[in-house]
Symmetry: C2
Subunit: 349 residues, 2 copies
């Protein structure tokens, strides 16, 4: 069959509604027998479902693995991609390059047989699942047999050879957050990491302390007892407290206590549950910045919430992509033996 | 009846769910016979419904004024505040101060009888509507008889005496956008105003040109034919084009054409309809900034959309509040005879 030519952004795969981009699209074409000259076809090994999405699926299935599987099959059947209709979010995959379209071949630093991680969201990636081999309920990772397509504008990273795939995947999944934390934190800043014990929160805490330095103060929070106990041992946190991010008043009061009423310059919100906007806004000082990394964040709740309490804070939508974020984040992992050990235990062993 | 003492942020008025702040709350107590010592009770004259909210209500009622009225009554009946359950947004009001609680009296620059505009969202403001006198379907303004409460942390502005109330209200409704545009635009920047013919878009265009200066380029867009024709006459726009913000590819191509492929440093999104995220992201250059002012913006669509096309752009959630935004925005209106005339015709006459 002759190759077809596709749109750079992938609009040629959009079935419904016509004319929109693949991410907002309801349904995309996941027929892998159609070959486009500017697509990359991959055999998928593991899906790393976005944390907000996986939490929602897992909660709805009450942890039942068979129900999780059937939900995932039904999402891909309906939409041609793994875009959770409740959270709107996707995740990423690791796989092996099966075919590179003729218009890209030799022009990009990638060849067939290379092992890569996709760095664009599954919420826009045409995906076919033939078999779900294993659901790792505690790591949001799902081993499958299937195929996925990367468009010309997509981003990806070759898997590093000096670490386990699942370790790399865990870092790459949240790579935008530590890379953007690095650009936001300046020496001497007070930084609050909301949800510091999780995958992105722990890496952000490390980066925040690295850049805030000895005169800075990095405070981590967790909502569970076990999370809070874990945080007490984290070497790069200056202070920690236990509070649910949905309890905005507690977040405010505990932060006030630990900062002598100064509050913090920067809040990084890494909690993958809804209604955590105000718990991230109130601890920030006037003129400070709140960075929302969680896909469970509501735009209006943040915008109107800040206005509602008369707070002049800059609020950033966590862009999953920052230039060189994969390279940067993998390097942070290499730097910290502590995080490497924790991640290895959580996401690999 | 003895005065009660209320929480600074208004949590004492939250009925459901308990413990959250008034904005995220489902239902607040709008019983105005309860007197708290740190509340301001106002007789409401006019509601200025948030544009995204009013558009949704109007569209659903197919423009029928009686249906709009019954929707508004039912929202306030159900929630104790005018928080549109679809858009999550509110609006603001103008009214006369009826009672100032004893804990605030004499400590704030306000006295009973003063005419003010609320600068916090109706989505958190306890409101009672006794009568809807007139629905101004083209200006999102609704004249009512009723009462509203401002909490201690609320912000408000005394209505200026040198202009019509409705003119001031129109500006104050969108005051955050021009004030924040002023802080974002630097000389020589290329700025795209998406939805430039609307209330916030026109003011933002003026401010963008003021700060971008002669070496800058300010481009305005409109989706309707009449909007595009209007923009051609706006003296402070360097270029204009007609495209729907939902058509991301058209937005990209037309911006590329007008900027010789350079794209813009800053995009200000003022369109009060859903699915305009990508139409605002694609025209931005790598490393640029996208400022979402519209309450119809989806957090995940923006976050995953930017990642999906591999664009490293800073995305800001439009905070309705910036320090002194009322004062700043009213002054911009006074400066521009052109906008004053347009606003007068649209929102007053």
């Amino acid at each position: 069959m002759a190759e077809l030519h596709g749109n750079k952004f992938g609009t040629h795969r959009v079935i419904e509604p016509k004319g929109v981009l693949p991410q907002p699209a309801v349904r995309v074409d996941n027929d892998m027998s159609k070959e486009y000259d500017n697509e990359i076809l991959c055999d998928v090994i593991t899906l790393n479902v976005d944390s907000a999405s996986f939490t929602q699926i897992k909660d709805e299935a009450q942890g039942d693995v068979e129900k999780i599987k059937s939900t995932m099959f039904s999402i891909v059947d309906k939409f041609g991609k793994h875009k959770n209709p409740v959270t709107g979010s996707g995740g990423m995959f690791i796989g092996v390059v099966k075919r590179i379209g003729s218009a890209l071949k030799g022009k990009i630093d990638l060849k067939e047989g290379d092992r890569i991680a996709s760095l664009v969201s599954l919420s826009l990636t045409p995906l076919r699942i033939d078999e779900i081999k294993k659901v790792h309920v505690n790591t949001d990772q799902v081993d499958i047999k299937g195929q996925a397509i990367l468009f010309e504008s997509a981003i990806w990273a070759k898997l590093p050879t000096d670490m386990d795939d699942k370790l790399a995947l865990a870092v790459l999944d949240v790579a935008g957050a530590p890379a953007q934390t690095a650009t936001l934190v300046k020496p001497g800043m007070r930084v609050l990491i909301v949800g510091a014990s999780g995958k992105s929160g722990l890496l952000c805490s490390y980066v925040a302390k690295k850049y805030a330095g000895v005169t800075g103060q990095v405070i981590g929070t967790a909502s569970s007892e076990s999370g809070a106990a874990f945080l007490k041992e984290v070497p790069f946190l200056d202070a920690t407290f236990r509070a649910s991010a949905t309890d905005a008043v507690a977040m405010y009061e505990k932060t006030a206590e630990l900062t002598d009423g100064e509050m913090v310059d920067l809040v990084i919100s890494c909690v993958s549950r809804p209604d955590c906007e105000m718990g991230s806004i109130l601890p920030c000082k006037d003129g400070g910045t709140v960075y929302f990394f969680s896909m469970a964040t509501s735009f209006t709740k943040a915008a109107l919430g800040a206005e509602g309490v008369g707070m002049d804070v800059t609020m950033l939508i966590g862009n999953g992509y920052t230039k060189d974020h994969a390279k940067i984040s993998l390097e942070y992992l290499r730097e910290s033996d502590y995080i490497k050990k924790i991640y290895q235990k959580r996401y690999v062993d």
